[in-house]
Amino acid sequence: MKISYKIDSKIPVGSLNEKWHNYKSTLEVISPQNRKHLDIIIVGSGLAGASASSSLAELGYRVKVFCYQDSPRRAHSVAAQGGINAAKNYKGDNDSIDRLFYDTIKGGDYRSREANVYRLAEISSSIIDQCVAQGVPFARDYAGYLENRSFGGTKVSRTFYAKGQTGQQLLLASYSAMVRQIGKGRIIMYNRHEMMDLVVIDGVARGIITRNLVSGKLERHAAHTVIIASGGYSNVFFLSTNAMGSNASAIWRVHKKGAGFANPCYTQIHPTCIPIHGNFQSKLTLMSESLRNDGRIWVPKNIEDAINIRNGKQYTQNIPEKNRDYFLERKYPSFGNLVPRDIASRSAKERCDAGFGIENNDTMEGVFLDFYHSINFYGLEKSKELGITNPSEKQIKYYGKKILESKYGNLFHMYERITGDNPYDIPMKIYPAAHYTMGGLWVDYNLMSTIPGCYVIGEANFSDHGANRLGASALMQGLADGYFIIPYTISDYLSQFLNKNNTISTDHEEFKKSEKQVYNNILKILSKKGNISVDYIHKNLGHIMWKYVGMSRNKKGLYKAITKIKELKNIFWNNIFVPGNIQDGMNYELEKAIRIADFLELSELMAMDAVNRNESCGSHFREEYQTKDGESMRNDENYKYVSIWEYQQNKSIKEEIMHKENLIFNFVKLKTRSYV
């Protein structure tokens, strides 16, 4: 078997703080009058896609953007709640680029690339300035300066936020930059279009096939380069914090066309989601991690109390302080409730597995997130500020609640909408859920995949976060990629097309071939007319993934998952029912079916990758590799690499070949990750 690519991460030489700076001066630039002859396709209009498209259009390139929603403003970045990091040291707590760099490398359990992470930390503060200039109403203090809060895995306050709607505000800003360019005609926006395939001509990405979701028609689009910004794939777990339409199709098709898929097994499980309530639930809702700044996580110390709470025989409020187990504060005194997500999630699972879960659902899983203490604390502080010497309990509560409301009002509101409980008065119930995928298409320092001319940005790529992502870093990465990195690196690549007859017709054989393949695939799905619904397959896949490839894994379970996924794949391809014909217009069932077909393949690769990695690191917890205290045991000697999977044309997933990018740490010392 011919190995088709060699992994070259193209990390520039020099010391960390000079790399990006010096490297930029070596990149080719294209003069303004030439840019309008170059076409760029961008798949996705989230933070990554929107920021890239507005910047590139502004530079003068001709840009086409695609998203499956009815408006670019609805990309799932809009749902991010907590905030965005930047090393600005506005709070004087000794934050710096180096510290953000170090926290991110450590948080990712030393499974990310030094050079990339450093660049991210360097760029971080310009992102905030940029967003302020675009009108993002970040939280401010009374003197008019920007406010901060802190997130898991750090000891400084570096997270900028706009209440619990940071993602929405950032996305609206990049969307507004985008609509400005759409208005000028420099961006052509294709709403309700789904990318179906990447077209590769002479080994280089030159276009895509899309399905117009309204008319159902397949369309061809050619360009000089293609940027994929299609977000994450944790919807493979069915119940996740992702939007219902979030999918892996775009990156999966690119993978099948030759792009390496990196670290597929790293899925972040977010510790603070609303627990599952029933069998028909369609998705899980996140409660921002920022709540851990003010909320304390606990379960009862005595198992009888837990049982009584679950059965509704005991009120939470009646459990005295001494009978509560604030397990994170107990186990990790120096970070407490602000330990990183993987650690918080596993600790909650451990308590629930031991029978202390407090939620009355099928799995009896849930822990409390309690705001009682901070309401008291803030209430007292405020009363003092107002000169009330002997505040009544009512006054304390009143002022305390007001302060919490100003910080997290919309999150509390969202919680109450869903559960019917008022979290100001009774503790929230939370439990971990599948959230963010650190894995994705492999990219080099230029953010280019192993297919020349195909770039991948935002959550869709694998870069920067390692085996675990610290909170408030994804928004930062998406915007860094889009606003400040891709405009430079892409011009270097595009410069080769100048002075050449460089356009490609969509009548090219490869376009026809690609389209035919997509067409046949759709036809095959529609022709089954069996008696199983797409949702049934998706839910079952989700169960398998959560059980065996979720928060903790073991070898036996992973092999079991692979077998079960194959069975499910069989059911899908023999027994699926999707109504309608190929010439019908809008068809939601078909959209879902196409996405599930891809999830069924990706999920197998996720399990394979997890089997391969005989260690525990970050979100990847292999039960066989743990210390006697149940902490993860990393194996740097053998696994300090990025796993990169290469698809073998027309062969099954199990025949994919793994390549390695060895991670070299010149600037940080690898230590056991401890948050005690």
Binding site: D129, A139, G144, Y145, Q165, V179, G183, T285, P579, Y588
Partner: protein, 254 residues
């Protein structure tokens, strides 16, 4: 603890194949729904029945985040945009808000500027076009901006701007308005940007352009019936509209 009993409903759902064909209400019965289910989860269950038992096209409706923030869901339920609950989108509406055996009417947004695509799905791209006409600050995106703290912004202004900026662009305000006016949506954007120092420079041009575009797109005019405020899931206040009017008038004064 809440008692969990299951509920039954009769649904009258608007079905329409596409923009060319005529629509009609179709009746469906559904049983055993948990009060904790969201409205959309209830429709999922109904759709599964339609799909597997009747082998028909399920009811098409728009949705994505299912947590009240993307603005994609859009149902007109029992005569109200996003249903009977205040300050909630359809995906945040739960069946505990309905009575057992209730008859529930489900319709798409209805407005000339929102043509129907299929069943309960409408085309809201007119809102994007209004945004294109001026819903932005014309700053480059290359990071050569000044430090974010160099222009302090009064907390009250930042908070007010935030409140206006929290519009999710769902279009409920328009669907519920008897004139089909887009005033609340546009006003929210105008206030958000005009309240911030960065947005003040272009404020006159912005308000003129956006109002003109809104008219061109065929939205009606505002006659202060305030229905928009009642059905807005994000509590965008009609004070924004007064603000817009002021901005509009002063934009003529040099």
């Amino acid at each position: 603890m809440k008692a969990k009993k299951s509920l039954n409903f009769t649904l009258k759902v608007w079905r329409q194949k596409n923009n060319k064909s005529n629509g009609y209400f179709k009746t469906y019965k559904i049983y055993d729904i948990s009060p904790d289910s969201s409205f959309l989860e209830m429709l999922d269950i109904l759709n599964n029945n339609i799909l597997l038992e009747k082998k028909e096209f399920p009811i098409a409706f728009d949705h994505d985040c299912r947590e009240g923030i993307c603005g994609m869901c859009s149902l007109y339920i029992n005569g109200r945009a996003h249903g009977p609950e205040n300050l909630a989108t359809t995906c945040q509406l739960h069946m505990r808000n309905f009575c057992n055996d209730e008859i529930i009417y489900v319709e798409p947004w209805r407005a000339k500027s929102f043509p129907i695509i299929q069943d309960l799905i409408v085309d809201r791209s007119s809102l994007d076009r209004i945004m294109m006409s001026g819903g932005f600050i014309s700053v480059g995106t290359f990071g050569h901006t000044i430090d974010g703290n160099l222009i302090p912004i009064a907390k009250s202004d930042a908070d007010k701007a935030f409140d206006s900026a929290s519009c999710i662009g769902c279009g409920a305000c328009i669907a519920t308005c008897k004139n089909k006016s887009a005033m609340l949506f546009v006003a929210a954007k105008i206030s958000h940007l005009a309240l911030l120092p960065q947005g003040k420079i272009e404020r006159k041009k912005r308000v003129l352009d956006m109002v003109q575009k809104m008219d061109e797109e065929g939205f009606g005019s505002c006659t202060n019936t305030m229905a928009c405020e009642i059905d807005c899931p994000k509590g965008i206040s009609t004070e924004n509209i007064s603000f817009l009017n002021k901005e509009y008038i002063t934009s003529f004064i040099r």
